[in-house]
């Protein structure tokens, strides 16, 4: 199994076409196939021309922005939900008085209308990009508006979505919110050259259940009309399928969707061995029906942008909201550090943040943060009568684990555990479970620390493949310790939500799998198709 190239599906044969295979970042699940159609590019800005009548240029600028705003507002009224909200916000930017004054000023100063618009948008774009984070991603919105405004000013056709008259796989350099909001039912999947997991393409594709692959620069070389297969889970694109192959992929996709839509109930293998299927959430808004509780409540997501520490009351309210809606919840205490900064912590910069003060280690510098959080969790649990399990991230030694357990129990928390993300903790799993009630294995970090390979490093992806025997052996050690102690040992992290890996983890002895809500049906069905003995056999082969 470890020799199989990542992402191939042995049951369906390798995911590749006559012209080979491309790889990007899979950001929205599903597999479909169809012909590629590329989106019309932005208008080319001609060389600046000498202006005879600056007043006329300024008038053209105002007219172009007005038409752009009107066009967006019109599209907002025919769109719905999130798409409508986004279009409305874009219309307000096109209508922005600062932008208009600036572009008008540049035209009055002697630039032609197209260049005046280009310069004014560029200025605001750079200002947003410089702020970083969320606003830097919005900079792409301004580029898109700029292209449309310039096209209006030059009288060129609007850049935007093609309508070839048949279902197609949409390919673009990147997709703006204005593009994705207008996507029709004829779009089968999205492939972009740029973009990341938090780009609009990714968010809207997931919302609509469209398979999507981003960050795939090689797709630029694939001509229009080529039939490709898109796997939005693995990020793989099979190039050059025949029409028959494409029809087969689409048929399988339909059958798969029907099968998953019918999936329900608790997680169990074909022979009835129970495996709890839990959710990874960042707040109550992420909760979905169909799972058996929350396996990872990432509390830091509530406070990401904060410059002041969240108060006790605020935390009680946030936790109560989740506890009211889910039967059992595993709360992870703040997992922040110099690699995932929470501004209110004010931690100093480090030269090697992955190996620095993060997770529970923050408690060495700021003990009051954990004190307040444990108080708030205990209070919310008392108020709701919920079963709150609490675990600490990035625990390395028995000393850290027992110190955390003592403090949590003193606050009235009845179930205390830790995340296993560091090999040192996995090696001592048996000892840890003498004082703790459960373990939860974070496979992403455990792989990073076991193979000494940065999680974000695109050139080391093979070292982070969770099917490697060394990682599986550490997981098996934890599961075995759990079995001996009669205590739960779960996996949260990407591996738990992968329908190919989930049976393997169960075969290793893991008792629960925690994943993004969208992954639950496929994992449930994968487990239901195998007996426990078959899962164990997969684990045995993988460990070999």
């Amino acid at each position: 199994m470890p020799d199989t190239p990542p992402g191939t599906r042995p049951d369906h044969g390798p995911w590749t076409g006559a012209a080979g295979r491309l790889t990007g970042l899979g950001v929205s699940q599903g597999r479909v196939a169809g012909p590629v159609v590329r989106m019309a590019g932005p208008p080319r800005l001609p060389a600046p021309r000498a202006v005879a009548d600056p007043g006329a240029e300024a008038a053209t600028v105002v007219k172009a922005l007005g038409e752009l705003a009107a066009d967006l507002a019109r599209r907002a009224t025919s769109a719905q939900g999130e798409a409508a909200e986004i279009l409305e916000a874009l219309a307000m930017i096109a209508d922005d008085p600062l932008l208009r004054e600036e572009a008008e000023g540049k035209a009055t100063g002697g630039l032609d209308a197209a260049h005046a618009l280009d310069a004014a948008f560029a200025h605001h774009r750079d200002a947003l990009a410089a702020l970083g984070g969320y606003l830097a991603e919005r900079a792409a919105d301004l580029d898109d508006l700029k292209h449309r405004a310039v096209a209006f000013a030059l009288g060129l056709p609007m850049p935007g979505l093609p309508s070839p008259g048949h279902p197609y796989v949409l390919v673009a350099e990147d997709l703006s919110p204005a593009d994705t909001a207008g996507l029709g039912d004829d779009v089968l999947a999205l492939i972009t050259e740029r973009g990341g997991p938090t780009s609009h393409t990714a968010i809207l594709a997931r919302g609509r259940g469209l398979p999507a692959v981003v960050a795939c620069p090689e797709i630029a070389g694939v001509p229009d009309g080529t039939i490709v297969g898109v796997d939005g889970t693995t990020g793989e694109i099979a190039v050059g399928l025949s029409a028959e192959e494409a029809a087969e992929v689409r048929e399988r996709d339909r059958a798969e969707k029907a099968r998953l839509a019918a999936s329900h109930g608790p997680g169990r293998t074909a022979d009835g061995h129970p495996v709890k299927l839990l959710l990874n959430i960042g707040s109550a808004a992420d909760l979905r029906p169909g799972a058996e509780g929350v396996g990872l409540f990432r509390t830091e997501f509530l406070f990401l942008d904060r410059t002041q520490a969240p108060s006790f009351e605020e935390q009680v309210a946030a936790y109560t909201e989740v506890f009211r809606q889910a039967e059992t919840v595993i709360v992870r205490t703040l997992d922040a550090g110099t690699d995932k900064p929470l501004p209110f912590l004010g931690l100093p910069e480090e030269t090697n943040p992955a190996l620095g003060v993060r997770g529970l280690r923050v408690d060495r510098l700021l003990p009051e943060v954990l004190e307040t959080q444990l108080d708030a969790i205990a209070e919310a649990a008392r108020a709701t009568g919920a079963q709150a399990w609490v675990m600490a991230p990035m625990v390395t030694t028995m000393g850290e684990a027992s110190g955390f357990a003592r403090r949590a129990r003193a606050k009235g928390v009845t179930r205390v555990g830790v995340m296993v993300e560091v090999p040192a903790a996995a090696l001592r799993a048996r000892r840890l479970l003498q004082e703790l009630d459960f373990l939860s294995i974070g496979t992403n970090d455990l792989a990073q620390y076991t193979f000494a390979a940065d999680r974000q490093h695109s050139a080391l992806a093979d070292l982070l493949d969770p099917r490697q025997p060394a990682l599986l052996e550490l997981i098996a050690m934890c599961a075995e310790a759990g079995r001996e102690a009669g205590k739960p040992v779960g996996v949260c992290g990407e591996a738990a939500g992968d329908p190919l890996l989930a049976p393997l983890l169960v075969g290793l002895g893991v008792t629960s799998l925690s994943m993004a809500p969208v992954c639950v049906p496929a994992v449930r069905e994968a487990l239901a198709g195998l007996t426990l003995a078959e899962c164990r056999e997969r684990a045995r082969v993988a460990l070999d």
Binding site: A89, M92, D96, P97, L98, A127, L135, D305, T307
Partner: protein, 93 residues
Amino acid sequence: MAHRTVAVASASGLHARPAKLFVQEAVRLGVPVTVRLGEKAVPAKSMLGVLSLGAVQGTEVTLEADGPGAEEALDALVSLLSRDLDAEEALDA
């Protein structure tokens, strides 16, 4: 010159939907209002200006206005900023 200082209550800060609602309200009120954060001052009816403040949840901003209707306009905008507009969205859904 009337002015009020208020902490942004929305979870996503003065971005995205909360920014949109704020600017829409400022446009609707029709009274020129300035939003000040430290050295930066932008018109409340400018979406780009408001976004460029980079205000997150808990950031304190000062609203200023002059002339007839200034007090009422400031009251309306302050009351909008002191609500968690993201949470209200969740309730709507």
